[in-house]
């Protein structure tokens, strides 16, 4: 089964676990298994539309899965998937509404 590495800010929602082995043959299936096991993680990983929040990046063998097949990227036994956040923010909207 693939392994998922959890970043520090999300570990309070995995009972402190930093590495979790989960069933799944694609990135989407592993994520589904993750939020099923740790439901409180869902709001921090997925938006209301069920898609990954924009700051959540998933890396497989040092490649962002967005550069592969996205959530449909296949995973095999022994693969390690890393959740790496990117951080964004800023003062209130004034001239633009794009993130």
């Amino acid at each position: 089964m693939p392994t998922l590495k959890i970043p520090t800010p999300l570990r309070p929602y995995t009972s402190g676990e930093s590495t979790i082995t989960l069933p799944g043959e694609t990135v989407a299936e592993v994520l589904e298994a993750l939020v099923e096991r740790h439901p409180e993680l869902k709001r921090h990983l997925l938006g209301d539309n069920g898609q990954l929040r924009p700051y959540v990046n998933l890396f497989l063998k040092e490649e962002n899965v967005n550069q592969l097949q996205g959530l449909e990227t296949p995973l095999t036994e022994g693969d390690t998937l890393l959740i790496i956040p990117s951080i964004a923010g800023g003062k209130e909207h004034r001239r633009d509404h794009a993130p």
Partner: protein, 146 residues
């Protein structure tokens, strides 16, 4: 999460944050705060200052720390025996309250230090943590240390 959250920041490190935010003005400046958390006591020990990765036109009101930056920050923290405790960024000509955009893109657990810079001069910094339900931020008291 309660209102008694506190973060220890050495005065010299807060000065470095303020200097970086003033140098970045009128754009937003940002970086990572590295340190240790033991028994719920959080202490910043080192700054990992980063270039704002937003495109030029958006740097006046946005900052972006990429996944590659975060990986580099994690490696530096590990080398120093520290962790990434949070992120600092400036609000040029704007109060140091978190914006809706800050909330939308925030992660739990991290400390978010926001520095208000008015006309190129730092006014003040405040620190915040995202509520578990993502509904808003809880203030985190900054304790200045030597």
């Amino acid at each position: 999460m309660d209102s008694f959250l506190k973060i220890n920041i050495p005065g010299g490190i807060l000065e470095q944050i303020h200097s970086h935010c003033e140098r970045s003005y009128p754009e937003e400046g940002a970086g990572l705060m590295l340190g240790k958390e033991e028994d719920d006591r959080r202490a910043v020990a080192y700054l990992f200052i980063l270039e704002n990765a937003r495109e030029d036109a958006a740097r006046h009101n946005r900052y972006l720390i990429t996944a590659a930056d975060m990986l580099a920050g994690e490696k530096e923290a590990k080398r120093l025996g520290l962790s990434i405790l949070g992120i600092f960024h400036s609000h040029p000509d704007h109060p140091n309250q978190p914006s809706e955009f800050d909330r939308e893109y925030a992660l739990p657990w991290y400390s978010y230090l926001i520095t208000s810079v008015q006309g190129g001069q730092v006014v003040d910094s405040k620190c915040w943590r995202l509520r578990d339900n993502r509904a808003g931020f809880v203030p985190e008291e900054i304790i200045l240390t030597d």
